[in-house]
């Protein structure tokens, strides 16, 4: 039998082995199947993917776009995916990683800058300093003070609650690295937020966060 190309050949070989047949009669999925399956997938998992990207990049619109890019990639790869959700999650992380380099200097935002930067008139932070937008801005800026790998692990493992093993596989690190990096990342995140909360409380006359 002549070889088929790459993955196709592998699939054929697997199928022939499984069937023990000379030829494998298989399904050729039509576009309608893919579209319907993908639409259901996007509706079910899109929201969490968007939130993941939002947390990773710190900007909602950009997060939505990153998630869309990931879902488009997922659609393109749909026929050969055995676990579309894992693929989409990794695509979100990869997409964000792709863009991180361009924004690497934004990480120069110092930990103490998370409140200062929340100036009136600056987008989301332009709402009431004590309102939900300010809180979101504060949290996202605090996240952005974490080094990239720490941020990814904190978001994926802690905030999105993915299993440790999946995060490790997704990022190409060991489970132990996920655990230790998460611990350090959370310590730092707490420290940044506690300091920011304290300063915010001082600047507003001792009021609470909300």
């Amino acid at each position: 039998m002549g070889a088929a190309p790459g993955e196709l050949g592998d699939r054929l070989d697997d199928r022939l082995e499984a069937d023990g047949a000379e030829q494998a009669q298989v399904r050729l999925p039509g576009r309608g199947d893919r579209d319907a399956e993908f639409s259901a997938f996007a509706a079910a998992h899109g929201p969490v993917l968007i939130r993941t990207a939002w947390l990773l990049c710190g900007d909602r619109a950009r997060g939505e776009d990153l998630a869309q890019q990931a879902l488009v990639r997922t659609y393109l790869a749909w026929p050969r995916l055995t676990d579309p959700l894992a693929y989409a999650r990794r695509a979100v992380a990869t997409a964000r990683i792709d863009a991180w380099r361009l924004r690497r200097r934004e990480v120069l935002v110092a930990p103490d800058d998370v409140v200062v930067a929340s100036r009136p008139g600056a987008g989301a932070a332009g709402d009431s300093p004590e309102g939900p937008h300010a809180e979101r801005d504060l949290l996202l800026r605090a996240l952005r003070t974490l080094p990239a790998q720490q941020r990814r692990i904190v978001v994926l493992r802690y905030l999105v609650d993915l299993p440790e093993a999946e995060v490790a596989e997704m990022l190409g690190v060991s489970a132990g690295t996920v655990k230790s990096t998460l611990s350090r990342g959370l310590d730092r995140l707490r420290g940044v937020l506690e300091a920011a909360d304290a300063r915010r409380s001082d600047s507003t006359g001792g009021g609470g966060d909300e």
């Binding site: 947390l55 863009a99 200097r105 934004e106």
Partner: protein, 557 residues
């Protein structure tokens, strides 16, 4: 703060929001379009597989070990062509095929090709089709045995008219010496075919990138010697791997000379990430031949192949447009007479003149901007390639090429500036450019910030130990009183610098500079931050002289 509190804060502030049906529909539409853009198409081709393979029960033709003596006649190209990277290869060599639509009307081809062998003065269909491997699939296709049924959905390939399609990869493994005709028939009946001779004495062609390592897919794999435009490079990795996360730092071009790779351009201009992890390089002025472009990261390299030819199949690499667009679209001032040689008719980006510089700027909102990926200045003719945004804002791989013939008097030094490595940089290019020009006179550095809007520009100005956020605003729209609580003033040369604290308590300073208001925000209210803010403000104030007298002096002409 407990884990529960921390997680709850994030859950409340950054909630999961449902996606409605319209959004899913829009996403599906985008995905379908992207699929077509990538020459990955729909279900008709699946039927083609079955049809092509339905003859599988036919007897296999004799595979005589002796190749036919008389070669086949040359193919006449009518409307479509299959360009092959080699005409003659030894058995087992790999070959790249590129479909070219020369009808100008748009042709749709199948991924599946027929393979005929030259036998006794005629082409004989051996019923052994070839399912090309596409650039995003790291594999090398081989002809299939008759009767093979495949669990695979072949795709449509729709090369842009006059522009090379994707670089498809095949191996000649299993093919005996002889001549083979690889053909694709388009939906409209045009046949794109290429002839390949397999000869045991043929020299090996330049190798293709190994499939078990990360490699580069090269958009526009065949160039003419007069080619303009970028090579867009995308990492392709073996299954289970992930692309390198950061953009490559260097690029070079090697030529295949005397059986080995030799570097012909060791520092090729390289863009950053232009979307989806792709980067672009400008390749121009190369002699005909076989090349590879190599991207370098600190931890290694990856490469992809391209070819330069003297003649078609690449006949029309730059879309030609109506020169009238010059006045209506490009935004050039009326008193200038630029000869717009070629320009896009429909695009989100535009050009404008800023002093002695011609800028490629980006319209739309922050996440919906085109990205200039390459420029080339040859004589007084300028080529700018912009990757356009798609609906939904992400770059969709559509490139628009502008070509301007420059008028006399415009400096030909490196006056061209393409901005907006990130889309938000372009929202107010005049303010950003003004600040960059000012800061260039100091020992500070401007880096992007995400706070741009129509009337202000924010940047971080970096000192070795810290950073200061700078807001540059037009005074008629600025609300600087709410930003800085003054604590004192410092008289500089013609500038009164107000120092104090921001509304959030951090160190801050501000001063008016003609039509602009500049505000400086430190990282906190420590003495060090106050010193940093004052230092940065003083440096900028000094370098900003003379301040622009009006908004018109710093806005788009």
């Amino acid at each position: 703060m407990s884990d529960l509190d921390l997680r709850a804060r994030f859950d409340a502030a950054v909630p999961v929001r449902p996606v409605d049906d319209a959004a899913v529909g829009s996403l599906l539409h985008r995905a379908r379009r992207r699929r077509r853009t990538r020459q990955v198409g729909g279900g008709v081709a699946a039927v083609a597989v079955v049809a092509a393979l339905a003859v599988g029960g036919m007897a296999m033709l004799d595979r005589g070990p002796t190749p036919p003596a008389a070669p086949p006649p040359e193919e006449t190209v009518v409307g479509a062509d299959l360009w092959l990277s080699a005409e003659q290869v030894p058995p087992g060599a790999e070959v790249v095929g590129v479909l070219v639509d020369e009808t100008g009307t748009g042709q749709v081809f199948d991924q599946l090709a027929s393979v005929e062998r030259w036998e006794d003065g005629a082409w004989v269909d051996r019923a052994e089709p070839l399912l090309w491997c596409l650039p995003t699939d790291p594999c090398s296709a081989e002809v299939m045995s008759p009767g093979t049924m495949v669990d695979f959905q072949p795709v449509e390939i729709t090369p842009e008219p006059g522009v090379p399609g994707p670089a498809m990869r095949m191996s000649t493994a299993g093919l005996e010496p002889g001549w083979y005709r690889i053909g694709h028939t388009s939906r409209t009946g045009h046949v794109a075919a290429g002839i390949l001779e397999i000869d045991i004495d043929a020299p090996p062609p330049a190798p293709l990138a190994p499939l078990d390592e990360p490699l580069l897919a090269v958009d526009r794999p065949v160039l003419t010697t007069a080619a303009r435009g970028p090579l867009v490079l995308t990492q392709v990795v073996p299954d289970g791997d992930v692309p390198r996360p950061d953009p490559a730092e260097q690029a070079r071009v090697d030529a295949w000379l005397d059986g080995a790779w030799a570097t012909v351009e060791d520092e090729v201009a390289l863009t950053g990430d232009i979307g989806d992890g792709a980067q672009a390089v400008m390749a121009a002025g190369l002699d005909p031949g076989a090349y590879r472009v190599v991207l370098s990261w600190p931890e290694g390299e990856a490469w992809g192949r391209f070819w330069v030819v003297v003649a078609p199949p690449v006949s029309n690499e730059v879309r030609r447009q109506d020169a009238e667009i010059l006045q209506t679209f490009a935004g050039l001032p009326d008193d200038e007479r630029y000869d717009l040689v070629e320009a896009p008719a429909d695009t989100a980006s535009y050009l404008f003149v800023d002093g002695d510089r011609l800028l490629v700027s980006l319209a739309g909102t922050g996440d919906c901007a085109g990205v200039p990926v390459a420029t080339e200045l040859a004589g007084r003719e300028l080529t700018v390639v912009v990757r356009e945004p798609a609906q939904g804002c992400a770059p969709d791989g559509t490139f628009t090429t502008y070509v301007l013939a420059l008028p006399a008097g415009v400096p030909s030094e490196p006056w061209l500036t393409t901005r907006a490595e990130e889309s938000h940089d372009a929202l107010n290019p005049p303010l950003r450019l003004w600040l960059e020009d000012v800061v260039a006179e100091t020992r500070l550095e401007v880096v992007p910030s995400a706070q741009d809007d129509a009337a202000s520009f924010a940047a971080l100005v970096v000192r070795p130990r810290t950073s200061v956020t700078v807001l540059v605003e037009l005074t008629d729209e600025a609300e600087i009183a709410a930003t800085v609580v003054p604590g004192g003033t410092v008289d500089l040369e013609g500038v009164v610098l107000e120092t104090g604290n921001s509304a959030s308590g951090g160190a801050a300073a501000r001063f008016a500079c003609g039509a602009l208001a500049l505000t400086f925000l430190g990282v906190d209210d420590s003495p060090e931050a106050s010193e940093d803010v004052r230092y940065v403000a003083q440096e900028v104030a000094r370098a900003a002289q003379p301040c622009p007298a009006s908004a018109e002096a710093i806005t788009v002409p």
